[in-house]
């Protein structure tokens, strides 16, 4: 079987506009969560918070003539893909172009554009819409723009599975490389969901924390939404070695499952099935894993359910794992979550530092693992799991290990 390695990564989120800044913030345990700035949230209950991208100047990354075509959803994707492809040192204006895929996970779509058009229609009673609405809103716009910007002509599509979109995207890209369909893939996720309409809809479900995100902690009160994108260059080990590329990590396997249960409530059985499938796919034993970047949303239901699933799969080894949720730092970026969290996983593998779980106040008997509260931990991480479990019971888990 072809081995797959990661040779480039890029990212933008509330912690920074590039991977070095984001990783620095993760190791320092900084949080990007703050009162909402993007819009007036006075119609919402309480004082809503979010992990918004601050001080973003698109013109620093994207030429002016392109901007009218781009919702922030695509802007973030382009920023992250550009950084990843530069780091990989790849050029696609050759025979590699048709043998490269672009797979992008996204849970929503161009929500800022959508909100703006609907405001015109329903509030301002104007039917004169900007003509580029559709091409900004469509959830496939980010992968199209990555393909156009870099001249990539292989299989290119969006994967949507709500909060598991990015991890499903990694799985699709990896399967295409293994099948020999392509040799390289640009893969990740993007989300720009902090808009009045989306926030109000999340608020109505009463799962947004009024204060902050406290995964696995007693008194956790829900999730905090975030936004951003992270993208990665995957290629075969052979391809990376042939061109002398720096290998950041190996994508060892992926596992997917569906709960076939509830449209919102999580299932430990489905989550455990995805983790076990990922280990099987990688041909690895539970004892070879040192770190899990958890889904860890900070809702009462997710964190206890995920803890039970980890016990099921890891048995005795569960208590030797470091299990952290980085969502208190970058927020829950929905379709981009797994991609942003992959930055934490690769950082842990490369630098021997596990980013902490912030805002932990006290143990919850239903969450009894080592969540590395408050401060990052220096420890060798040979291999790690990255968990994503979506509404509607869609689960996807990726296994990544140190480059050997």
């Amino acid at each position: 079987m072809r081995r797959i390695v990661i040779t480039g990564m890029g990212g933008i989120c509330a912690l920074g506009h590039n991977v070095p800044d984001i990783w620095q913030a993760m190791t320092e345990g900084r949080s990007g969560i703050a009162p909402l700035q993007h819009f007036d949230a006075s119609l919402m209950r309480g004082n809503p918070v979010g992990a918004e991208i601050a001080d973003f100047e698109p013109l620093a990354f994207i030429e002016e003539a392109k901007l009218p075509f781009l919702d922030p959803l695509s802007q973030y994707a382009l920023v992250a893909a550009g950084e990843a492809i530069r780091q990989a040192g790849l050029d696609f204006r050759n025979e590699r172009t048709a043998r490269t895929a672009v797979v992008v996970g996204t849970g929503a779509a161009g929500e800022e554009t959508r909100d703006g058009l609907y405001r015109k229609l329903y509030a301002e009673k104007s039917g004169r819409f900007h003509p580029l609405g559709i091409v900004r809103i469509m959830s496939s716009a980010p992968c199209s723009h990555i393909s156009m910007a870099h001249g990539i002509t292989g299989p290119t599509f969006t994967v949507a599975s709500a909060c598991a979109s990015s991890n499903h995207a990694f799985a699709q890209a990896a399967m295409m490389i293994r099948a020999g369909l392509v040799d390289t893939a640009v893969v990740g996720g993007t989300e720009a969901c902090i808009t009045p309409g989306v926030m109000q809809a999340w608020e109505a479900m009463r799962v947004l924390a009024p204060d902050t995100c406290r995964p696995f902690s007693a008194n956790r009160r829900g999730l905090v939404l975030g936004e951003g994108a992270a993208m990665f260059v995957l290629e075969t080990l052979e391809s990376a070695q042939a061109r002398g590329a720096t290998i950041l990590a190996e994508l060892a396997g992926a596992g997917m499952s569906a709960d076939a249960g509830d449209i919102a409530a999580p299932s430990d059985v489905g989550a455990a099935a995805a983790m076990q499938a990922a280990l099987n796919d990688a041909g690895m034993q539970p004892g070879e894993i040192d770190y899990i970047n958890a889904h860890g949303t900070g809702t009462a239901a997710n964190d206890s359910t995920e803890t039970r699933a980890i016990h099921t799969v890891f048995g005795e080894h569960a208590h030797r794992l470091a299990v952290t949720s980085t969502k208190p730092m970058h927020g829950h970026a929905l379709g981009a979550a797994g991609a942003l969290e992959m930055l934490a996983v690769i950082g842990a593998l490369r630098h021997g530092i596990v980013p902490p779980t912030l805002n932990y106040v006290a143990p919850d008997p239903a969450c009894d693992l080592d969540y590395v509260p408050h401060e990052a931990r220096a420890m060798n991480v040979r291999a790690a799991l990255s968990n994503s479990f979506a509404f509607g019971g869609l689960n996807a888990v990726v296994v990544v290990r140190q480059a050997s």
Binding site: G46, P210, A265, A301
Partner: protein, 84 residues
Amino acid sequence: MSQVQQEVFEIISKQAKIDIGTIKLESTLKDLGIASLDAIEVIFDIEEHFNINLPNDDVNFESGTVGDLIGAVERQLAQKPADS
């Protein structure tokens, strides 16, 4: 039974498809088999029916009882201007 209590019982009975006679003031929504999004929907139906907003702190799905919920509705109704 107060008017508010009667109406809340009817909303719960309709949403959860349970006999109104089985609902007690001391029942939690969980006791009545109303969990997850169904519970959120019950709260929403109550908000729409009375045209009020129930703060998150007033709706505890684990331990809050139907009686607590009625108390929260009555507090919100008491704060509403008479003409609305």
